[in-house]
């Protein structure tokens, strides 16, 4: 993905078709978001009548954030705690595991076994695990606790973090760490002062991806939390009740919930692209 990569210029009919496809793709992504964004500024009645012209209002945001019946701020706080703590934990565990697997001479079956297991685990739908977790957490007293939810998010994010960090560590030439060992570092110091600082882009990429996953995660949170510990996605879903769907507030809450992800993606996009394409082009 170097800057020097040259693309073939499109001309004539190809150009029109190319741009056409691009517009369709952008509309598919931006369209629903734009619709939600518009809805968040409409009164409920304008949404239900399907009116195109409307007078924008902040009332939905005000109701979601400051309304007496709303505990959305508490939900945001829960999400922030769960996403932050699980991200930090998964980075610590995942980075150490990746470094150990990459650098130390483990028997082949250990490395293959571990990585194979993480890959299989990554492919299992989260819902498969929710049932057993629910029963286990009820027994242990972890149901309806942020700690329990954090643990599940660490588990879900660990495979991706290990794979991503291994890709970053494998980019560091072994001589640099050897130089550090000759220079006076113990293996732990070589990790701390040389390998880790060089893997910071990887930490950023893996951290952002883990944070966004945790922030958006719905099915586990829905089953393992109750009113006090509900996270943002669960709270958004609760705007749809049995007899009433609060479309406008739901839209406002949804828009608010995208803010952290948008900010993180904007700041860390280049690290993520690099992380996901590492090793693909030499």
């Amino acid at each position: 993905m170097s800057a020097g990569t040259s693309a073939l210029p499109l001309v004539g009919r190809d150009r029109i078709i190319g741009y056409g496809l691009m517009v369709v793709a952008v509309l598919c992504v931006v369209g629903p978001f734009a619709w939600i964004l518009m809805s968040s500024f409409k009164h409920q009645i304008a949404i239900l009548t399907g009116a195109w012209s409307f007078t924008p209002t902040w009332s939905n945001y005000a109701e979601v954030l400051f309304g007496r019946r709303s505990d959305f701020v508490g939900n945001v706080r829960n999400s922030a705690v769960v996403a932050s703590v699980s991200t930090v934990l998964v980075l610590v565990v995942g980075t150490l595991a990746a470094y150990s697997l990459h650098r130390f001479r483990w028997a082949r079956w250990v490395t293959t076994g571990f990585l194979g297991w993480t890959l299989i685990f990554h492919m299992i739908p989260a819902l498969t695990l929710v049932g057993p977790w629910y029963i286990a957490f009820r027994e242990l007293g972890w149901y309806d606790t942020l700690g329990g939810l954090i643990l599940t998010h660490v588990t879900m994010n660990l495979p991706m973090t290990v794979w991503l960090m291994m890709a970053f560590f494998s980019e560091i030439p072994p001589e640099i760490e050897e130089a550090a060992r000759v220079d006076g570092c113990s293996p732990l110091e070589a990790f701390r002062y040389v390998a880790l600082p060089l893997a910071v882009p990887g930490l950023i990429a893996a951290g952002i991806l883990a944070f966004i996953f945790s922030w958006n995660e719905f099915s586990i949170a829905l089953n393992l939390t109750a009113r006090d510990t509900a996270t943002v996605p669960v709270a958004i879903a609760r705007f749809a009740q049995q007899y009433e769907v609060q479309h406008s507030q739901m839209a406002a809450a949804a828009v608010i919930s995208t803010i952290p992800a948008l900010l993180l993606m904007a700041l860390g996009q280049r690290f993520i692209v690099r992380g996901l394409t590492l090793g693909s082009v030499k």
Binding site: E175, A179, G184
Partner: protein
Amino acid sequence: MATVDIEGVRKLFDQVTVLDGIDLAIADREFVVLVGESGCGKSTLLRVIAGLDHATAGEIRIGGRRVNELEPRDRDIAMVFQSYALYPHMTAAGNMGFNLELRQRGRDEIRAKVGAAAGVLNLDKLLARFPRQLSGGQRQRVAMGRAIVRQPQVFLFDEPLSNLDAKLRVQMRTEIRTLHQRLAATSIYVTHDQVEAMTMADRIVVLNAGRIEQVGTPLELYDQPATRFVAGFIGSPAMNLADGTVVRVADAMALHTDGGARWPLPAAAQPFVGARATLGVRPEALGFDEDGALEGRVTVIERLGPLSYVFVDTGGVRVCCQADRHDAHRPGDAVRLSPVPSMVHLFDHATGHRMSLD
């Protein structure tokens, strides 16, 4: 005293023998060059000395102390890597002072020592730069500086010049040698370039297939190669080699080559009559001679400025002959050659060992 003693060192990687019984004693302040073709085990030997790889058998002593079980950091060595292996996230000064920082030396001491090393290496103005902002030659100097700052007992160099262009390589060669004379620390230098070995070493160790072929001063190796391998490896252009059988023609000795040419041999070759042998003559020991026994035809002439090399096809064997800069031969000329008898080498065809003509 920083002697390095290597005794019976063997190294196996997955049943493959990379080092096969290395014995070598390196004196204090000596500059020893390990040279050989790629895969001969020279870099592995250096890594074993550094502690980055462990010897399967044998003992390594630095300054009389057994170091086999010690971590690299406890061996009191510094190493310059082929790829420089600078820390990309540290400045030149950071790279050079990293070891002192690990040893928790004071900031002033670090600055003084880094400054002194930078002065020696002309790096004063580059200390605040990161490796990515430096040219190949400058990175090389920083890597050298990192080694100097430590004031180790032994310097280890793993092909440090092979990533530089030809001109810079020649310049750095002289600088490393000058630096060694100034610091007077024991140095072990690995290269595949025999010119580097010849120009830099106090003693050269020629390695082949995990074994030492010969140890000696550059001129010893050049004048008295112990094996056919050393004869062919040391010297540029390489020594002319021809396989054949030692014969007596009238009263004179000669080597009848497999291509049908007849090379004159000194009388001392008499004990070897009938033996299969490889004859070796350096380009400067081979001259044009109208009465020469060796016939051939000029194929290529290389003019180097101070002298010329004339390549002659003699019965299927192409030989190189050193001539003066104005040599008038042209490709296609028929010539006769004759070697200087005292500068002819003979090697056993089967074992490759030198056959004495003294």
